[in-house]
Subunit: 460 residues, 2 copies
């Protein structure tokens, strides 16, 4: 028996019990987990910072988000309307045959495998959104710890187990697995997604990793839903009048959004579309100066820094692309802005790919009309943002409709970073942003990844 098989067997056994517990008990578990995480105190934040190089303040914010998220899902579990219960009443006198009563409601899928992200050691990891959503609806959970923050994972895993013990829940409600060192083929992850007792999967990370696991989920004897959020370039369209009226504020906001968390956010704005003009060029100069003046950041892992630098060099060498500054050698990741024109952008598939780190690409367009052809050339995105005065928006119906086809979240006069956790949030989008545009991995809508409707029929 392997570790995975032990965990999956326990998770299935626990699902028999946990899936039938009332919502109030699931809510209690989620709230207790939040308490236990809070009780870990500064040790958690300090460990996470040591493992990820993310600053303490950012991690304290992420912890607050994580516990608030657990409580939001607790409220959902307790309140219960998520089951969308529907009843079509019986009509025994109907001719030619009596009409039966049909009631249906959402029920949990079964044990869920969760693959946490490197860049959110708390909010998208062991007790992150996927785990909270799955536990809220009655699924049991097996998390594969991200190798980038094993100690943080262990601390949070212990907090969850502590909460389960307090409430006398069976061990298989939650398990935490660790890759053995040197598991470069990700054998544990593959085995987990392939296990017959695992009924769904959730992943946040790279396109390569997400697609590999998604393909395993699809090629099992019994395919299972596997939601992978694989990142995005997050185009931002700056309309001329908005730029004219708010240029300085925009440069400051863009700078903060591009460089926050050393650019290691799946909603980082990696593409900025502008209509070429003196104002536009002034904004780019201002933004480039701000980026240039930003101290180099420490990325999550040395290999991510290597990949970031290689991507910048490749982008800088692309014909038709200018760098606003040099790619720096030396320690840390330096923020950098490249500039190209819409014609070059539309024809290049490489320029549409995400660079993970504090870089962005400005695309100068001859006119506002070219925003539409740029948008049409984009692959699926998590977000698309538009800065525009109201009257500029009014004339942009086709652009907005096109962006709606391309992205899960459209932002007016705002930037995509800072994903609110609520009932309305959509953090998903057309492929390759995610594997299925019908679902989100943030907010209460995210539970629909892990539930299926079941109908109960009877004569009366």
């Amino acid at each position: 028996m392997s570790t995975v098989d032990d965990a999956a067997t326990l998770a299935w056994a626990a699902f028999r019990d946990y899936s039938r517990r009332p919502g109030a008990e699931r809510a209690q578990l989620l709230r207790r987990i939040a308490d236990c995480i809070e009780r870990l105190g500064d040790a958690l934040i300090e460990t996470a910072s040591r493992e990820t190089s993310l600053p303490l303040a950012r991690l304290a914010g992420e912890r607050a988000r994580t516990t608030a998220q657990l409580k939001l899902f607790a409220d959902l579990a307790q309140e219960g309307a998520w089951t969308d219960e529907r009843i079509d009443p019986a009509d025994p006198s109907r001719k030619p045959i009596p009409k039966p009563r049909v009631r249906s409601a959402f029920r949990p899928l079964g044990p869920v495998a969760v693959f946490g992200a490197s860049n959110f050691p708390l909010a998208f990891s062991v007790a992150g959104g996927d785990t909270a959503a799955a536990l809220a609806v009655g699924c049991t959970v097996i998390v594969k710890a991200h190798p980038g923050h094993p100690r943080t994972s262990q601390l949070v895993g212990d907090a969850i187990r502590h909460a389960m013990k307090d409430l006398n829940l069976p061990a298989g409600v939650f398990s935490l697995l660790f890759e053995t060192e040197g598991d470069e083929t990700h054998e544990l992850a593959r085995e987990l997604v392939g296990h017959p007792l695992i009924k769904a999967g959730a992943f946040t990370g790279s396109t390569r990793g997400g697609l590999a696991l998604w393909r395993i989920a699809q090629s099992r004897p019994e395919p299972i839903p596997f939601f992978a959020e694989m990142g995005s370039v997050n185009p931002v369209f700056l309309f001329p009048k908005a730029l004219e009226n708010h240029g300085d504020a925009l440069a400051t906001s863009l700078h903060a959004s591009i460089t926050g968390s050393v650019g290691q956010l799946c909603t980082q704005p990696g593409l900025i579309f502008l209509v070429d003009s003196g104002v536009a060029r002034a904004l780019l100069t201002r933004l480039s100066d701000l980026l240039e003046a930003t101290p180099p950041g420490v990325m999550l892992t040395p290999s991510m820094l290597d990949a970031y630098r290689r991507a910048l060099v490749a982008r800088g060498a692309t014909p038709g692309v200018d760098s606003c500054a040099q790619v720096h050698e030396g320690a840390g990741a330096r923020a950098l802005l490249h500039v190209t024109d819409s014609k070059t952008f539309i024809l290049s598939s490489e320029l549409k790919e995400e660079i993970f780190g504090p870089a962005s690409l400005a695309v100068l367009c001859p006119s506002v009309q070219d925003f539409l052809s740029c948008a049409e050339s984009l692959p699926g995105q998590l977000t698309a943002s538009v800065y525009a005065e109201p009257y500029e928006l009014d004339a942009s119906g086709e652009l907005l409709w096109t962006l709606e086809q391309k992205a899960g979240r459209l932002i007016h006069n705002g930037l995509p970073t800072g994903v609110e956790v609520g009932t309305a949030m959509m953090h998903g989008g057309p492929f390759p942003a995610t594997t299925d545009s019908r679902f989100t991995s943030v907010g209460t809508r995210s539970i629909f990844r892990f539930v299926r409707p079941v109908a109960w029929q009877s004569p009366t």
Copy 2:
């Protein structure tokens, strides 16, 4: 340019327009389609009967179901609550950063490819549930006509086009494609599912056909959701006291459910579990007599009859399986009951496969406890039925929970045939009944196959 490419290009162009029409206009289209189908009168029913050998009365019922279904989806489109609009209000004074307003709602995916079923030339074909659901939410539709009923398809397709013309809708809102004769590799179907402008697919039919198209949908450069409903064996569990109290009525109902539409229904009860006893054996004798006395039926196609006979011969030759009667030669499909024991059943994967036609397999169990191990050995199903007195159910929590994991619809004291079209119906189930247990192809819940949430964010 191929036919598929023309149709997909038209469908995408029409989607730009149709996806932005108000719900009332989509409702008007669906109601007008129902009218135009009704106006086809007896010619439609007679054509369908000639092409499928299904009796006129059954087809008249299916037409009523089809038009009622169109009207149900019209009501849904008009009423509008299906979009599940959610708003998280802004809080500009929130610290450290202002909270934006986030609104989200379901929006249509895009052009949908629909593959109709051979056994429902109206309700699961050109203007069937898939088309109605897709049009209701603002998707455009391309139907590939089933080669088993081309003239029926043409009539219904003309009715839809007529309705569209009445309402001045662009041609690409709906297209109907026909395979050329001898397209044995299903080139048209494959091309349709693979086309980049097609954003979702829906299929009702065989496991082989459904899986082949689903795999194409998954291996496209941009994978798309593809829901295939691929049939089911629909186990029925007869508890001893219910059998004792209602044996005769049960034999009559089972006979009708097994042989209706010559057994060519995806909800046909192909498995009957009983506790071995004199009463159980009497029921089987009575049921077998009724089946034996049923006149042979004409199946949808000669190749289906061949497949049915081959499957019966193979089942009869399985060690541990007895036939209650001979497999008849001669014209038509004869109803037939086989009998086996639970031990043989649990160990055999073949006995768990669907036989498409008027056959069923009775499984005699040593005790009620064996129902559970039989249920645990089942693959995913559309339905599972239980005949039991209330006190027999009370002691069967584990069986009911297990059946809930295996099937999309659980029926108490009733049979699975006769799928009600309503707001609560679930016609789906775990693989291999369908490709994704989270969705249904019947009832208003079926729209969720064709929509995705989109969020709009703004500062206030």
